[in-house]
Symmetry: C2
Subunit: 153 residues, 2 copies
Amino acid sequence: MKFPTLAAALITLAPTAGLAEGMTLTSAGDRPHMAGSLETFTGTVNIAFLFPPTDPFAASAATVTFLPGARSAWHNHPGGQMLVITEGIGWTQERGGEKHIMRAGDVVWCPPGVDHWHGATDQTAVSHIAVQQAGEGGAVIWGEHVTDAEYLD
Amino acid sequence: MKFPTLAAALITLAPTAGLAEGMTLTSAGDRPHMAGSLETFTGTVNIAFLFPPTDPFAASAATVTFLPGARSAWHNHPGGQMLVITEGIGWTQERGGEKHIMRAGDVVWCPPGVDHWHGATDQTAVSHIAVQQAGEGGAVIWGEHVTDAEYLD
């Protein structure tokens, strides 16, 4: 199952409001996946959706894999986001701050409205589970691409 | 860092309400862990906390590892819970339903208020990331232990 945009995938997966009856189980092949759009990412990125928001459960999640050199554009999350790094080594940076290494086992908290980017290092791939919650304006607000100079600084 | 109860760990980690300024990164050694209490689990269980709720971000998460034969007691989540199975093979069952196998790569949705249990199989360990949101009554309401007869049925 492929979706043209992250928003389309999440809307399609979202069940109707109100309580769902009974536990459900999905396997990796049941769930949508998509390449990270070149409008919002640089390099090769794979997004494998884990779960949509399921009212009243507000969080959604996806496993995002960045190949070496790949990164998100600058962006922020109106409702905040947690990254659970599951494989490899990557970089992340807050607007105006230093670039930081993030490794498998690390958890990164991105507060609401704080501009940042995250991705692989130029030498190593990274995967993380991204857990976010929609806020005023949605789950993510995208900015400009991260330049090579910013990325390698 | 060890905590006597899950509730104590989550309350201790929770920052004050309102926006936190700036991204944060924690490594596995920075975060609390605890054995699953024999009041609410059977067998050997390890709980490694990932993140607490961080207002307005309502979700909290932990990686829970069950050794063969170990399982939670019957319980439900007032706000719902998602399980992302990361390693191994386990079992899960909803009250009144059949026992199901859950494998690495599976995602299990436990709707609010639905009684269930989850854990390892009698032969294989399992690990999952549990993501939950507090609801009326908290994040989890515990019931009775799962008997050996129920577990092996």
